[in-house]
Symmetry: C2
Subunit: 250 residues, 2 copies
Amino acid sequence: MNTQLIDVDSSQVTSCTHDFQVNCSNCRLSSICLPFSLEATEIDELDRIVQRSKPLQKGQHLYRESDVFESVFAVRSGTIKAYRTTDDGREQVTGFYFPGEILGMDGISNNAHASSAKALETASVCEIPFNSLEKLSASMPQLQRHFFQIMSREITEDQQLITLLSKSSADERVAALLLSVSTRNSRRQLSATQFRLSMSRVDIGNYLGLTVETVSRVFSRLQKLDVLAVENKEIEILDIDALRKIADAQ
Amino acid sequence: MNTQLIDVDSSQVTSCTHDFQVNCSNCRLSSICLPFSLEATEIDELDRIVQRSKPLQKGQHLYRESDVFESVFAVRSGTIKAYRTTDDGREQVTGFYFPGEILGMDGISNNAHASSAKALETASVCEIPFNSLEKLSASMPQLQRHFFQIMSREITEDQQLITLLSKSSADERVAALLLSVSTRNSRRQLSATQFRLSMSRVDIGNYLGLTVETVSRVFSRLQKLDVLAVENKEIEILDIDALRKIADAQ
DNA sequence: CGTCATGTTGAATGATCTCAAGTGCGGTGG
DNA sequence: CCACCGCACTTGAGATCATTCAACATGACG
């Protein structure tokens, strides 16, 4: 009896999950992830090489440092944290990847991943085998250009982080991260002022080159200044102009 | 009379300069700059799109932030400094480029350079128009792969710098820079232990996220420890193992 | 209800920055 | 040839900001 009920339930669940046929042309993230300039037939070709098999549990790895590099990945849902481990065992978070964003490109140069990637919450990704992507790119100039651009953007963003880490105060760093999350959220039609930070304070500190305590103090300070309303991981930006001022200050 | 002398001199000089026909196949930097895997005929094809017209004086710009992106550049001689200017006018050095190394790829994503590039001393570069490079890449899988790899390496190196800036002490940062210069020198068959730093202390400090004074103090300290011999810009690494230890410490 | 992980807050320490003065070298002009 | 100037670099002393260490709070979970 019970078994039957469960069976019925699970079949219902299956039909209700997001497991329906997703492809690049109907993916609502394609405007972030894909070049606008591809033709429908080209998108179909790309679609054929993309593998959508990998749902990740919180804490599960997408790949690890020095794994053989085979694919790049596009985030479909959830958040992925990329980090490297230094020789002496310290961890350095190098980026957070949100839906529509692409990661894994640091593995191309040595054919081995230069960082590890881990799900901060349940996440799904599209796997794009790099060999196929290369071949396809050779025959699709727009796709080739798109990947050059995506890699170039990664460089640009890393350089922004370098600038941040090189000069800025704790307040500026935290403010800049929040603004980055904010703009990336609005790109996905989500609220630019209210969101849940999927990463821990430790991860934030690590990413920004600060200790947990300092991050926590900055949140408290910005809350006291009525710039933020902080409730654990839930963040509301109350005064985004003030936040911008803090991020750019000095 | 005088004029004649000068004429004679200048013609002699001309015949003695490095202005002889340089091309990719006879360039002694090709092992760094070029993919090994290209065939002779392919190298010739690449050679045809490379422009070698630009000798730069010290302080002269190769390109400036927000210039239209048209080409990437390979350094042939001298050192190029890349830097960005933040909204509030501060400068951030994002990299130093030595002979054989390629810069300018951060301009691809927005079709505008994301940084400025300036010669730290007299320098010559090869200009590689990106449009031609793209076209050529489409028909030469090895070249396409090579450029993906070069960009990937840029990402990897930026991430190393991020790690450095995020955690390390002043000693570690300076040691790491010196080791980086050292290995890049030996890649070019130059001494790994004795070299001239073409960049100023200000630039070093800026790159490493330190003040000039701190950089200077670190040099003094490492000299006192007999790890380095410093004479202005001339550096000798006396104890490279100790330097490595300092770079990795903690 | 207790345990563990995560986050917050406080007080003291310490590394780097800031400010200020001084050194040394290359170039210029007398 | 020497004196002077400017610039890059060095050195010192005090101030500042993030870290460290420690205690405490909160929340998830068995």
